[in-house]
């Protein structure tokens, strides 16, 4: 063993490894000088007998020949090739040996193999021994040679025989040792058997005694009890295990439960926060919709204001006389025209009470459709109520009519019919009424008597005094019928000028009314028209025989909403 070879890892600075390694190396050298080495470790199965092995290595072919079977082949490898046998080689040569091949043949084939020749130095005098064995095989001289060799090699042969004897002796010794072991085991077993026999005898005695005491039933009961007891013990063990397991599970569940409670609390908090946010959003969306409405209203106002500004600017530009009277004059009937004259005039040209009443039926569904009129219980005023035909209609519809007329005869007629009627100027009267105090303002065939300023003033006061949702009805001759516009209109000397429907519609819309609708009424009956057989006839019928009157209906909007 080389002393410089590092035997121990230098893993600890407190230990002097140089000195220690030197001492170990010295020890190893001492081991080497002593030729004995431990036998090789071999993995063995229980079925294989322990190998009988030599304690000293084989050093000559003679010694080798004393070995048998597996040991012979293994040792032949070591001696002749200087290495342990490989599995294939071992099996090959074992096969040859077991089929009757001579050992010398196997030695030759190993010794004269390429590897064997290389390792010739391992056995001093090997070649000599081998040549001898080759000569012994030669046919002619073999017998002579054999005699010669046997004489010459008597001592070696003796040694061989001795080795064989030695081998058999060792085998015998080994077997003896084994037999001794077996003997002692037998002896021990025999002793045990004696003891057991004694015990059995004692037991037999006991059993017979117990049998005398009616043991059979007793032992049966006992067995049952033991079984029960075992069963109970098993159950108890199982229950204890279950209990432990359940306790562990319970703890885990408790932990989970706590965790869940915490999560639940957190969730509740989140829910509250969400509800609060939802409420905030709802109130904000209400505010937004209010703001939207307000914006729409404001937009309308702004549009109206723009229109007004335009109109005013136009008026200003068109006004030639800066000293033009700015105050609005009342609807005054010309002083020269007597009340009686006008009543007579009207009944002559406007038509009988029945005719008028039947014509007014057109408006009944419009009134019925408006939800505000009945609900608000405010008065419905008719400016220029005449003989009170409309007041009758209104009363029949359950409203509270009030007639206003400048003509004292008409007012008297209405009063007689049981209506509230006032002889006063309609514009002045309206001006004195509080805001939102009237359900309906109607005026049939009045606005054609008014200047534009008066008409404008009427609309201003109407939109102020009407309740939101309240209704405005204005009826006037329709100049789209050219005969009406050119002729009939001027039959009344107090008419100022015809009002085309488009103008009236525009003005009413401009003043802020909604649902502004034109109703064309009282067309000439068909029998008076040109027969409808051509486009020309159709057009002429429209222009000459179309509706003679029209009405504008409108509603005061719910601006504050």
């Amino acid at each position: 063993m080389n002393e410089d070879k590092i035997m121990l890892k230098r893993n600890n600075p407190n230990i002097d490894f140089d000195a220690l390694n030197a001492r170990i190396a010295e020890q190893l050298t001492h081991y080497q000088h002593n030729t004995a080495i431990p036998p090789e470790f071999a993995v063995e199965t229980r079925s294989s007998a322990p190998a009988v092995s030599t304690t000293a290595p084989i050093t000559s072919i003679t010694e080798l020949l004393s070995l048998e079977d597996k040991e012979f082949v293994s040792e032949a490898y070591k001696l002749l090739l200087g290495r342990p046998s490989d599995n294939d080689g071992l099996n090959h040569y074992l096969g040859l040996l077991r089929s009757g091949e001579e050992k010398s043949h196997i030695i030759n084939s190993l010794a004269f193999s390429a590897e064997g020749k290389k390792n010739a130095h391992l056995v001093p005098g090997r070649t000599k021994q081998l040549i001898k064995r080759v000569i012994l095989k030669l046919p002619v001289i073999s017998k002579v040679s054999a005699t010669l060799f046997s004489t010459l090699s008597a001592p070696q042969f003796r040694r061989y025989i001795q080795a064989r004897f030695n081998h058999f002796y060792r085998l015998g010794e080994d077997h003896n040792a084994r037999l001794n072991n077996v003997d002692s085991t037998f002896a021990a077993h025999a002793q045990q058997l004696d003891t057991q026999q004694e015990a059995i005898a004692a037991l037999q005695e006991l059993v017979s005694q117990q049998a005398a005491d009616n043991l059979a039933s007793f032992s049966a009961q006992q067995e049952m009890l033991i079984e029960n007891n075992e069963f109970l013990t098993l159950q108890q063990t199982a229950l204890t295990e279950h209990k432990d397991h359940l306790t562990a599970q319970k703890e885990t569940l408790t932990e989970h439960n706590e965790f869940l409670t915490l999560q639940q609390e957190a969730l509740a908090e989140h829910k509250d926060a969400l509800t609060h946010q939802k409420e905030t959003i709802a109130s904000q969306s209400t505010i937004i919709s209010q703001l939207n409405n307000e914006a729409t209203t404001q937009k309308k106002y702004i549009e109206q204001l723009k229109l007004r500004i335009n109109t005013l600017e136009n008026l200003k530009a068109a006004a030639p006389n800066p000293e033009k009277q700015r105050t609005v004059s009342p609807i005054s009937q010309s002083a020269e025209i007597e009340d009686a004259f006008y009543v007579a005039f009207e009944s002559h040209f406007r038509g009988s009470t029945e005719t008028i009443t039947s014509r007014l039926q057109y408006y009944v569904p419009l009134i019925q459709k408006n939800p505000t009129l009945k609900a608000c219980s405010l008065p419905s005023v008719d400016i220029g109520c005449g003989r009170g035909e409309w007041l009758n209609v209104l009363r029949e519809e359950g409203l509270e009519p009030l007639g206003i007329d400048l003509n004292s005869v008409n007012v008297a007629l209405c009063s007689e019919a049981g209506h509230n009627a006032l002889k006063t100027d309609g514009l002045s009267w309206l001006q004195d009424q509080p805001d939102n105090s009237l359900a309906l303002i109607s005026s049939f065939h009045v606005i054609e008597h008014l200047t534009f300023e008066q008409f404008n003033h009427l609309l201003t006061q109407a939109i102020r005094t009407l309740v939101p949702g309240g209704m405005l009805i204005l009826e006037t001759p329709n100049p789209e019928n050219l005969i009406t516009g050119a002729t009939h209109f001027y039959t009344d000397p107090t008419h100022l000028h015809p009002l085309p429907p488009a103008f009236t519609e525009f003005t009413v819309t401009y003043k802020g009314f909604t649902d502004v609708t034109i109703h064309r009424l009282n067309a000439i009956p068909e029998e008076f028209c040109i027969p409808q057989n051509s486009t020309t006839a159709e057009r002429c019928n429209t222009l000459f025989y179309g509706p003679q009157d029209y009405a504008v209906t409108a509603v005061k909007p719910f601006l504050d909403n």
Binding site: I6, M7, L8, K9, N11, N12, P13, N14, I15, L20, R23, I24, Q27, L28, H30, Y31, N34, A36, P38, P39, F41, A42, V43, E44, T45, R46, P50, S53, E241, D244, H245, T247, A248, Q249, E251, T252
Partner: protein, 362 residues
């Protein structure tokens, strides 16, 4: 303040198993640093259900770091790839497949475990080897941010053990003892110990021959039979005892009443008895293989060649030299420090912070 969650996962747990002990040791360390830490597994024995949670309970999205323990291969690949949190590997080594017969479950899962280790390297932001040897393997498998932290031993367990002398083993109390603990299986190479005993018996007049006690359950009956046959061939019938498995109490007695611990193993992922020897002030002589030098550190005498003659010569030196013996006892005690919480906590804490500064406990 929300606590940082560093949990652990291992596919299977077992009572007394090395990896499971490591899980508990690591949990103790994490909790003492201040982390919230739970152990999850896909297989939990009934007696551990109070300490380990089923893996289904893990909320990986809310986990700041998951430490995944890996040893033998397993079939939970899908689970590993499904976790939605950063992961770090803790590697415990795998006994190589060549130590198992082809076609056995051990052979297959040993191979699979090494394939999995390589395959997953990209999934982990860091890796902890429980020994230098294991850290080297992690490096070869392509892991980054590797640290060696032997989070394996619960020192308190040693204190709990009571001591009682083994009975009916044929112990000769007037002789001193050599101890070796481990399963009876080919890769532990106990036959080399027998041969070393032969040298001590046949070449040493300078020392009184101790008895060799080889403790451990049999996993290879054929090898056990061969060892017993070898004992007969070597003429060591009165000098070697193979009592099989023994109780903790008996083992404690052996550690406390032996003169030297022997290890001839060809492969050890860690080798707990070497640490236990350190704890019980028992000097170690071992062959240098696999992780053994790393586990022993400065302790023990480590022989480079697996030669029983050198083992015998070295042990003879040790038995005859009290100064050397004391040096080895002192080194063994020092080596224990590497496995103490007080050593591991600052290292673990710094490592976790280096993986992700957000894991730092203020």
């Amino acid at each position: 303040m929300k606590r940082i969650k560093i949990h652990q996962f291992t596919p299977a747990t077992a009572v007394g198993d090395g990896v499971t002990t490591g899980l508990f040791v690591t949990q103790k360390l994490l909790r003492s640093i201040g982390y919230e830490s739970t152990i999850y597994s896909a297989h939990i024995p009934p007696t551990l259900t109070d300490k380990i949670q089923p893996i289904d309970m893990l909320h990986s999205k809310e986990t700041d770091l998951l430490l995944v323990h890996h040893s033998m291969g397993h079939d939970h690949d899908d689970l590993i790839t499904s976790f939605q949190c950063p992961m770090a590997m803790i590697y415990h080594n795998i006994t190589p497949a060549r130590f198992f017969a082809a076609g056995t479950a051990e052979h297959i899962y040993s191979k699979k475990g090494r394939q999995q280790l390589k395959q997953w390297s990209d999934l982990f932001i860091g890796a902890i080897g429980d020994s230098l040897y294991n850290s080297e393997e992690l490096k070869d498998a392509g892991y980054s941010n590797i640290i060696t932290l032997p989070m394996l031993i619960d020192m308190e367990k040693f204190h709990e053990k009571t001591v009682s002398a083994p009975k009916d083993w044929g112990l000769n109390l007037s002789r001193s003892r050599l101890l070796s603990v481990g399963r009876i299986v080919e890769n532990k190479r106990q036959h080399l110990l027998l041969e070393a005993m032969w040298y001590l018996k046949n070449h040493h007049d300078d020392i009184t021959l101790p008895q060799l006690v080889i403790v451990g359950g049999v996993t290879s009956p054929e090898y056990e039979y061969s060892l017993k046959a070898h004992i007969l061939k070597l003429g060591l019938e009165d000098d070697v005892l193979m009592p099989g498995k023994c109780s903790d109490e008996e083992l404690s007695w052996l550690y406390q009443n032996s003169d030297c611990y022997w290890c001839a193993s060809e492969h050890e992922g860690f080798c707990m008895p070497l640490i236990e020897s350190g704890f019980f002030e028992l000097p170690v002589v071992s062959f240098a293989s696999s992780n053994i030098p790393s586990t022993l550190g400065e302790s023990g005498l480590i022989i480079e060649q697996s030669d029983p003659a050198i083992l015998a010569a070295t042990t003879a030196q040790l038995l005859a030299n009290n100064t050397l013996k004391q040096d080895l006892i002192n080194a063994g005690t020092r080596n224990l420090n590497n496995f103490q919480s007080s050593t591991l906590i600052p290292k673990l804490s710094a490592y976790l912070s280096s993986l992700n500064p957000a894991l730092t406990i203020q």
